[in-house]
């Protein structure tokens, strides 16, 4: 059984991964964070303790997912998102906190700074302002497919950059 202290500490560790999971449904990072905060409060107020870390995270994912779906339904009447079955399959494979720790985030931060000015602007508009591919296509005067290809390339290059930085960090730590 997890104590309240342990449960809340786990939720804190898993914040990015839980918000990203909820984000698959709600597709808005700010809203995902609000749902995450509600999950934290619910966890705190829950009378029955969680049996394990896995139990807690499963509970949090299901709660976040359902709230996100209810929210979308109440605001928009319908929502086109991945179905329940797919979300469950995804939940089983969703990564653990150790794969996105502060070191990885630092590496990502450094890699973002290495992007060209144009690519940084694309990333900023998409992931900070929440602009869609169509918005970007109009803004830059490019075809939508070109924009999606550009974003795909940015993700790949960031993935590669992070990998190299983490390897270098590991090597550095062994030196």
């Amino acid at each position: 059984m997890l104590t309240r202290e342990e449960a809340t500490a786990i939720l804190l560790e898993e914040r990015l991964l839980l918000t990203s999971y909820i984000g698959v449904v709600v597709r808005n990072y700010h809203l995902s964070e609000d749902f995450f905060q509600d999950i934290c409060i619910q966890a705190l107020m829950k009378e029955e303790p969680f049996e394990s870390r896995e139990h807690l995270l499963n509970w949090a994912r299901i709660l976040g997912r359902h709230r996100a779906i209810n929210f979308l339904k109440s605001r928009e009447g319908r929502c086109l998102h991945l179905d329940e079955q797919t979300m469950e399959v995804l939940a089983e494979d969703w990564p653990k906190s150790e794969s996105w720790n502060p070191v990885t985030l630092t590496a990502l931060n450094q890699c973002l700074r290495k992007l060209t000015e144009n690519n940084r602007e694309i990333v900023r508009l998409r992931y900070l302002e929440g602009r869609t591919g169509s918005d970007l296509a109009r803004h830059f005067g490019r075809k939508l497919a070109t924009i999606y290809q550009a974003i795909s390339r940015i993700h790949k290059s960031l993935g590669e950059c992070i990998r190299i930085r983490l390897v270098n960090t590991e090597l550095g730590s062994h030196d």
Partner: protein
């Protein structure tokens, strides 16, 4: 190499899948595409891994970008952790121990991304510059929506006060009432439900619904077309009503108008010019003051004139308000309120309004997870100040209540020894009595986000001491709603939550609080509503010193989660309107200085000195009591 980065590094995967993921993020996939996309994810573990990696990396990018925006070394990944933030929350550990502190720490970390320093209350969050709007060219007319009340347009089209109408656009007014003003000073008040279009700067097409037209001197020739008629103004006020069957009624209130019925006689309408030529050959029916006609497609016949079909103004209401702004444009302190009272529009500086003091506060029986106080990070010694001040980002929120209004006087004390339990809700006392005049007498502002009712949170207002004829008033729709352009976005604020139900003002002062700040995308707006004391049964001219306020939702339905469509009222400023007023803006746009006194009928009078005002009040009192 971590799992999460492995699949995004190479060039060997089919780019189309990543692009599909991006399309999914944008909500671009059709139902059929989404089904196929989901199936791929379920079946193919490799694609599933790629999807997860891209989703997590996207969220991580969002997070890292926010570090840059807020440039806070205190929340860089190198020093993320609860230890630093726990020190801010020592008081909380008394009740819930480390658990609360860790939650608090997590929330503070989230908040720390949003602000430069949690304790630096002076700084506002700097938002990224918005992307310039990109869209199709529009054909704007010189016709403007100059006033609206609870207007809601169906579909994607939306107009707010000050909007220019497009000439090729059909507007479907689903709810409320709007006033259009044309370049020649003609105006049309249109009531929902209505479908209308602006043909040109001198012509309105009313396809369905009702409108009331005023064409002052100089606007003669203004036209209203309907599917079966054309009404040309000759210096008048008239109303036009078109029902679903294209049957049209016209009532002339004053002046003259010309009616051209049976548009079906026009063989084909290809252009405005052709229409004008054709119309000239049609039968013209002159209409005079207090005449009415109905055109049903086959024939025209005179009907009984009904002056009630004409609406000369929008309802009394809070029209707008002004507030000081941050450099980013977010509202801070109230400066003035503009209200229509008795058909007259007045602007009151905040200094002219009658301030309140909070005399009682009690929440519902369960702790309110959103909290009861909003304002700065530090709670003031006297929390009532949060509602009594002129700041629009401070207030006392979520007073207790229930769906149906109470059927007895509220009790504003608790004495357990005598078995007296105070009523959930909030009591207020005006520093000087509010004199019930025409239209709204009290203004209440609340903060609201788009996650909650766009019309504002429903609430009950009660007289503190009941008597025959007095009754509670339930407000279900604010005058300035989330859809109103006049509702300003407010600066960020902290919400103070409590771990136990709040049962008194004293507990608001003494119970430990847990401050939290919302995410910046959920910008809160300040809504406003006027409370007409006459609707509670108070006589015009009667003085009112105290009121009691409760939320008006079913508590059992209320949850604190953001998904809940209901929420409790969140007042940030309440004040009374003064009886007297120095400057009055009249309907014709001119202003007049004087004192306002209520009239015995609808409307108000303006007199030029206080002695006259006193005498007028006395005369009205005599009329009411001996008349």
């Amino acid at each position: 190499m971590t799992d999460s980065t492995r699949h995004l590094q190479g060039n060997d995967e089919p780019p189309s899948f990543l692009e599909q993921v991006l399309q999914y993020q944008d909500g671009q996939l059709t139902e059929q595409e989404l089904e196929a996309f989901a199936s791929q994810i379920r079946i193919d573990p490799d694609l599933r891994r790629k999807f997860i990696d891209l989703e997590v990396q996207s969220a991580a990018i969002h997070e890292v970008l926010r570090w840059d925006i807020y440039n806070d070394p205190g929340v860089s990944p190198d020093n993320l952790g609860p230890v630093t933030t726990l020190s801010l929350l020592t008081g909380w550990t008394k009740r819930y121990g480390v658990a609360i502190s860790i939650i608090a720490a997590s929330l503070l970390i989230v908040l720390a991304f949003l602000i430069q320093s949690p304790l630096d209350r002076g700084k506002q969050v700097e938002l990224p510059a918005p992307l310039p709007p990109i869209g199709d060219p529009v054909l704007l007319s010189n016709v403007f929506l100059t006033e609206e009340h609870h207007a809601l347009f169906f579909g994607e089209v939306s107009l707010t006060t000050g909007s220019s109408l497009q000439t090729r656009q059909g507007y479907r007014l689903q709810r409320g009432i709007v006033k259009l003003t044309f370049p020649n000073a003609a105006s049309a008040i249109i009531e929902a439900p209505a479908l209308f279009r602006v043909i040109d700067d001198n012509c309105l097409m009313l396809v369905a619904g009702s409108c009331s037209v005023h064409a002052p001197h100089g606007a003669e020739g203004f036209r209203v077309e309907t599917p079966s008629t054309k009404v040309i103004d000759r210096g008048t006020r008239f109303s036009v009503k078109v029902n679903d069957g294209n049957e049209t009624e016209v009532h002339v209130i004053e002046g003259e108008a010309e009616l051209y019925p049976s548009l079906a006689q026009v063989p084909e309408r290809k252009s405005q010019e052709q229409w004008s030529d054709s119309a000239a050959t049609l039968k013209k029916i002159p209409l005079h003051k207090q005449q009415a006609i109905r055109v049903d497609g086959y024939r025209e016949h005179l009907i009984d004139f009904d002056s009630r079909t004409y609406v000369d103004q929008l309802p009394d209401r809070i029209v707008s308000y002004e507030a000081t702004r941050t450099s980013e444009g977010y509202a801070q302190d109230l400066v003035s309120v503009t209200a229509q009272r008795g058909g007259q529009v007045h602007t009151y500086s905040v200094e002219e309004l009658i301030p309140i003091e909070v005399t009682w506060f009690r929440g519902d029986t369960k702790p309110d997870s959103v909290g009861h106080l909003i304002g700065d990070y530090t709670r003031p010694v006297r929390p009532q100040e949060l509602l009594e001040d002129r700041k629009l980002y401070t207030g006392m929120i979520n007073p207790g209540g229930q769906a149906e209004p109470l059927d007895k006087d509220p009790i504003m004390e608790t004495n357990l020894q005598e078995g007296v339990t105070g009523t959930p809700g909030m009591g207020i006392r005006f520093r000087t009595p509010v004199v019930n005049g025409p239209g709204p007498d009290v203004v209440l502002f609340e903060i609201q986000s788009f996650l909650h009712p766009l019309d504002g949170d429903p609430f009950h207002v009660y007289p503190v001491h009941s008597r025959p004829g007095l009754k509670p008033l339930t407000v279900r729709r604010f005058d300035l709603t989330m859809n109103s352009k006049e509702s300003l976005e407010v600066v960020h604020f902290w919400r103070h939550r409590f771990s136990k139900p709040i049962e008194s003002l004293m507990e608001l002062e003494t119970e430990e609080t847990f401050p939290r700040m919302g995410t910046y995308e959920l910008r809160f707006r300040v809504l406003a509503v006027g409370i007409d004391l006459s609707e509670m049964g108070f006589a015009e001219g009667e003085q009112v010193q105290e009121l009691f306020i409760q939320h008006a939702i079913e508590e059992s339905l209320f949850q604190y989660v953001v998904t809940d469509p209901t929420s409790k009222v969140d007042p940030v400023f309440i004040a009374g309107f003064p009886e007297d007023k120095q400057t009055v803006q009249k309907g014709d746009g001119k202003t007049e200085r004087g004192w306002l006194v209520p009239a015995t009928t609808r409307g108000i009078h303006v007199v030029r000195n206080p002695l006259s005002a006193t005498l007028a009040h006395f005369a009205i009192w005599l009329l009411r009591n001996w008349g």
